[in-house]
Each structure stands twice: as structure tokens, then as C-alpha cells.
Amino acid sequence: MEMTPKTLTFIARSTPYGSGRAKALLDMVLSAAVFDQNINLLFMDDGVWQLARDQQPGMIDAKDLSAALGALPLYEVNNVYVEARALHERGLTLDTLAVTAIPCDDAHITALIAQSDQVFAL
């Protein structure tokens, strides 16, 4: 008997390099991806900075987070969302992101959370 897949939603709200939180959330997502569940990844607030193009983290001896995000499709993490308001507030646009993401308004985010069995934010 197969168990019904659950829905796990991960909310990335941290800047990419100021702390290790962005990387820590991404590691959680990749770990969850191998469990064959429904995975949502949502970038909100300052988390959208993780999606900025042309990051050169080698300048501060850090690993490239946007490159790691580019590997999400290999893990079959395809439900990648971004808060449209957060992009706008930061002068970012969908077509200048390092990663393809589905824009969300507040109602869409509310629905994502309400449909989730568990939600993790970092």
C-alpha cells in the first residue's frame, strides 16, 4: 500500500551570503527531494536576493548559491515560486533572475501554505 505523498513547502527568506541560512534551507530542500513528495520552494522577502544574477561569491570565498539553485530541476524540484512584491521592492524582475520561478501574489502564497502538510522557513 502506497502512502499518499505529502506536501512540504520551504520558504527562503534570507539573503544569500550574510548568514548560512540560505544554504541551510537549500540543503533541506535537496534532502526532502529524494523522498518523492510534493515539494514547493518559495522565495520571499530578502530571500529573493538569492536569485540575483551575476553573483560572484568567490570574491568572499563562498560557494555560489545561485549555481546550486540551478541544480533544482535535476532533483525534480520544479515548483519554484517567487514573491512578486519582494522582487519589485528590490528592483529585480523575473527575466533577470538566475533561476526560473513562478511569480506569486499574497493570495497565491496563502494558498501554498494552506495546502502544505508542513512548512519550513529559514
Binding site: 534532502s31 529524494v34 523522498f35
Partner: protein, 130 residues
Amino acid sequence: MKLTILVHSAPYSSQAAYSAYRFTESALAAGHEIQRVFFYYDGVHASNGLSTPPQDEFDLVKAWQALIEKHELDAISCVSSALKRGIMDAREAHRYEKAAANLAEGFVLSGLGQLVDASLSCDRVVSFGA
């Protein structure tokens, strides 16, 4: 209910590390089952057995150890978070040729899969410090 506790913050640096402990204690007192306590990111500092706070301050590592022992809790410290932060058991110390191990008794090092696994099989996950 079956609860999973996720701890992201370090003792003495963030109150969240303490809140997680108090919540777990209260959940047990209310008759709930703790599926697993998972220490992640800075949360792993709660599993450093060398932690030695002043005698007149609350000792969170010891408090967790007592709770773990009393209730036979499954307490896992994320191995990759812990290694980065200089917390390891004898096995990892041997593997990385370190002269000492410092993982506090009662805690087990394991991977993030243990968090996902617990999250899928419990009723509620509660995160502290995030």
C-alpha cells in the same frame, strides 16, 4: 499527537534554543509523543558536551540530556552542521583524524533525511529559531 521539534539556534546566543527545550518539556507533560528532536544549523551547539556555563546559569545542554534520558527521546544533531561547527562523535573524530570527540551523551549525529522522515510521519513540526 506526534510532534517533531526542529531547533535552528544556539544556546546562550538565542533564546530560541531555550524555547525549544521548554516547549518539548511541556508537550511531554501534556501527554504528547515527541517523534524526534532535530538540531540543525546553529542548533547543533546544544549537543556540545564540552559546554560549561557558569554555575549560576541555566545549563541547556545538561537540561536536554536529562530530558532525552528521562523520556528516551530521539535527539539528532545534523552531522554536516555539527562537523562544520566542531562537534563530533568518536567515529567522526577517527575519520577526520581529530584528537578528541565532544558530542554530548544522548545525542546522535545523523543526516537531514532524519528530519524529512520525521516530518512525513508525525502530526506537527514546530521550528525554533527560524
